[in-house]
Amino acid sequence: MTDDKAENIPAENDDAPQPEVVVNRDPDVATEAADAAVEDEQLDELMASHGEASAAEAPTGGDPVVEAAQSTAPAPKVDLEQQAIEAAVAAVAEGERAIAAAEAALADAEPPTQAPASPLPRTGRDHRELVLRVLLAVNVVAMIVVAMLPAPAAGPAAVAAPTTTEAPAPTSPTPVTPSPVTPSMNEPWNQALRASERREWSAAVTILEGYLDSRPEMPPSERLSVLSALSFYASRDKDFARSRRYSQQAQALEQSHSLPADLVKEAAAAVELGDQESLRRIWARFLLQQRQIPSWLYQHVAQAYLELGNSYREDAAAGARAARAHALQQAAERVRAEALEREEKR
């Protein structure tokens, strides 16, 4: 979801280098800078928690950006996304530098009595304030742009991006919600969830990594969920390299040949259940991605066509049988009525 991108922004904040800046010890400036930093953090918090809670909780309606991001779930555009992320990272780094400057200013501030003594710092303070305000505005716009950019639709396959916001992990829809999860998956998955609730991100990562290693035959859809979650937890653990690696793995998996394999399994399940409607949808989705069907699955292309044909034919045949039975019943009733009528006439 686009919310993920919003969560990205502060994550880079934490990791951003602390710039060395010349600071003024003016307490007003320091206070304002500190206020701005707090405000920025609060805004980040609001964006992130809103985004993370959006699926589980009803939106408060207070943030139009989040609402817009939730209401639009367009298809992803990989290059645009990358550019947006880069722009957002740059903007956040700028913001971070400003915050760092403010913090430094606060730390080195002189006693308030000395502040008004010099007129020069006053001009510098104005200048810094202006810079801070501009940077904050840029930061907000960058977050909005990132939030509005097309991203994969919500669902288990969505890739979680690193974030530094305090996320209610158990209710977070994107990385946590497992799609068809087998019973065996519940235990490590729940353990990871519990660890994340305790903010033990490293433990959550370790649990899921162990789970991933223990099941090399894990179905692709499940693997995608686990990798997404790993990426998320690693980012919370501030291990961005690892988070990026898992994110890339998830993305690669999503774009790999595994999805048709899942569809084949789903089709088999639909056949077992006799769910013709689902079977048609599954095979149609399968056939629409023929170029990513590997050779070992190509046999199912023929099977898809065959079962689509069978499905429609059987529907028509069942309808025809029912119609014939109905017609026969009607004819029998009519003949019976005519016979009765004749009897009455006699």
Partner: protein, 548 residues
């Protein structure tokens, strides 16, 4: 500023994505027309946007049947990753992925007209049109299954023949018999396989159905002959008892069809005889079953075409004795009553015929034998002395079914109509109408019947006037007309006391009669006239066949 950014972002997100599909025109090769193919590589696109983008890329109009369906299409998303695909198949797949159906309206016949893609709900199997659409869709997917690039897939190798059979059956149900024959024939060409005999049976059935729809007699005859040819291939190979019975029924229908559509009466009788013998031989090899009873009834139809009412009656008794008689379906039950009535009428059992025909008419809603059955029913009533009922049946046959009847039945209808009219005292009316019919068309049998009736009513001059048009004919009808002419002259001469004029009037007609029996009867009449005139030498010559 933020608002403007939001609005812009929303508009961008909702706009159809133009670059989803890439089209390419594959040039015409080896007689295959040029065609447009599409490619796409896009993740997580909703079906509505995908269809919009496809329509835009192909310059189609897109019409979604309803807003709820549009929402359904919007909620369903697909991944697109294919190349060089038929755009219509892709549209269908996208629709199916969203649980919908896609239909195409070809462009109207004017410049700039565009194809319209209609997206609708999946048709309901409860209506005939819905079932038809489902069959069409099934056929489309089966054709994709059988396409060249999947030819060597193990599943295609394994199921290809069965799918061809399904496809043929779907086409039969859709009424496209010619195309269906093509698929059944491809099954036959891939022999040996387990569907060989069913395919041959289907081909024969298709030819029989095509034949029954032909108006042209020659084409009908040719189709029946083709059907017989395909069924005979079954008899050359191994088949089960059920298949044997089905094949025997079909060969019987094909041969009877040929007999009925033969160019001449002689050919028709010859084919009917062959059919009767063939079915008789095969029927004896079949175990007792409903199918065997059907074969027996086809045999009886052949006997009826040969005019063997007694044989028909005997065959129907055989049918009645079978334990499977009660299991006969509606159509065979009607056939049984029809043939039973026919046999009973021909074997002087009009009461049984009457009951059989009454049952038939009660249960035959749209049977094309109703006309002949009314005629035979009228004849049965007439033979029973129930003239009023006979008249009613004859009037019904004449008023409602005469235009659709074959020549033989038409004559019988008119005869029984006249007879019942005469019996009820509507003599003049009957004679006048019959005279008009005879004058209007070439109805030799009817003319002879009218002459007989007029002779019986002592209206000799009128009888001669009716027969005058047939005196020049050189066939059996001409002979019969000339003979009746002599009969009328003789009766008139005797009644009028002008017997002396008779030999001179009759002798020119006598040599023109080719039938020896009739010529002898004419000579006898002339001899008797000479005897009464006391011209004994002339009489003796006349009795010896010498007319002077």
């Amino acid at each position: 500023m933020i608002g403007a950014v939001l609005v812009t972002a929303l508009l961008v997100a909702q706009a159809p994505q133009d670059d989803v599909f890439q089209t390419r025109v594959v040039p015409a090769v080896d007689g295959v027309a040029a065609r447009t193919v599409v490619a796409a590589d896009k993740r997580q696109i909703n079906c509505l946007d995908a269809l919009r983008a496809l329509s835009q890329a192909l310059n189609w109009n897109l019409v979604v049947a309803s807003t709820p369906l549009e929402n359904d299409l919007r909620f369903a998303s697909v991944d697109l990753n294919f190349a060089d695909q038929d755009p219509r198949a892709i549209a269908q797949l996208i629709a199916v992925a969203a649980g919908a159906d896609a239909l195409f309206d070809e462009p109207a016949d004017f410049e700039g007209a565009r194809v319209t893609l209609h997206v609708t709900r999946v048709p309901s199997a409860e209506t005939e049109s819905g079932r038809q659409r489902l069959r069409t869709m099934a056929g489309q997917w089966y054709r994709s299954f059988l396409r060249d690039e999947l030819e060597f897939e193990p599943l295609v190798q394994e199921q290809g023949v069965a799918v061809r059979m399904h496809l043929g059956e779907l086409l039969v149900e859709s009424g496209d018999l010619e195309s269906a024959i093509g698929f059944f024939q491809s099954v036959y060409d891939q022999q040996p396989n387990e569907h060989l005999v069913p395919a041959l049976l289907k081909i024969a059935e298709c030819h029989l159905d095509i034949a029954s729809d032909h108006v042209d007699r020659k084409q009908r005859h040719a189709e029946y002959a083709l059907a017989e040819g395909w069924v005979n291939r079954i008899f050359q190979g191994v088949r089960s008892a059920g298949e044997d019975a089905a094949a025997t029924i079909l060969v019987g229908r094909a041969m009877l069809g040929q007999a009925r559509s033969a160019a001449t009466e002689r050919e028709a009788r010859a084919k009917a005889r062959v059919c009767e013998e063939e079915l008789h031989g095969r029927e004896m090899q079949l175990p007792d079953s409903c199918e065997r009873l059907e074969v027996l009834m086809l045999q009886a139809e052949a006997q009826a075409l040969l005019g063997q009412a007694g044989a028909v009656h005997a065959t129907m008794r055989q049918v009645r004795r079978s334990p499977f008689f009660e299991q006969l379906g509606p159509r065979p039950s009607r056939d049984y009553r029809y043939l039973l009535g026919y046999g009973a009428l021909g074997t002087e059992d009009p009461e049984l015929a009457m009951r059989a025909f009454e049952w038939f008419l009660l249960h035959a809603e749209d049977d094309d034998r109703k006309g002949p059955v009314y005629v035979m029913l009228a004849e049965a009533y007439f033979a029973e002395g129930r003239f009023l009922e006979g008249r009613a049946a004859a009037v019904e046959a004449r008023r409602r079914y005469l235009p659709h009847m074959a020549e033989t039945w038409r004559e019988r209808a008119l005869k029984i109509w006249a007879r019942t009219g005469l019996a009820l005292g509507h003599k003049e009316e009957a004679f006048l109408e019959l005279e008009q019919l005879v004058i209007r068309g070439d109805e030799p049998e009817l003319a002879l019947f009218l002459m007989d009736e007029l002779l019986a009513d002592r209206q000799w001059q009128r009888a001669m006037a009716v027969g005058r048009g047939f005196l020049g004919r050189r066939d059996e009808f001409g002979d019969a007309a000339r003979f009746r002419q002599v009969q009328a002259l003789y009766a008139q001469a005797r009644a009028g006391g002008h017997l002396a004029d008779f030999p001179a009037q009759a002798i020119p007609l006598a040599p023109k009669v080719q039938d020896e029996g009739l010529r002898r009867q004419i000579a006898t009449m002339i001899g008797e006239a000479y005897t009464e005139l006391e011209m004994l030498e002339h009489a003796a010559d006349a009795f010896r066949g010498i007319l002077r």
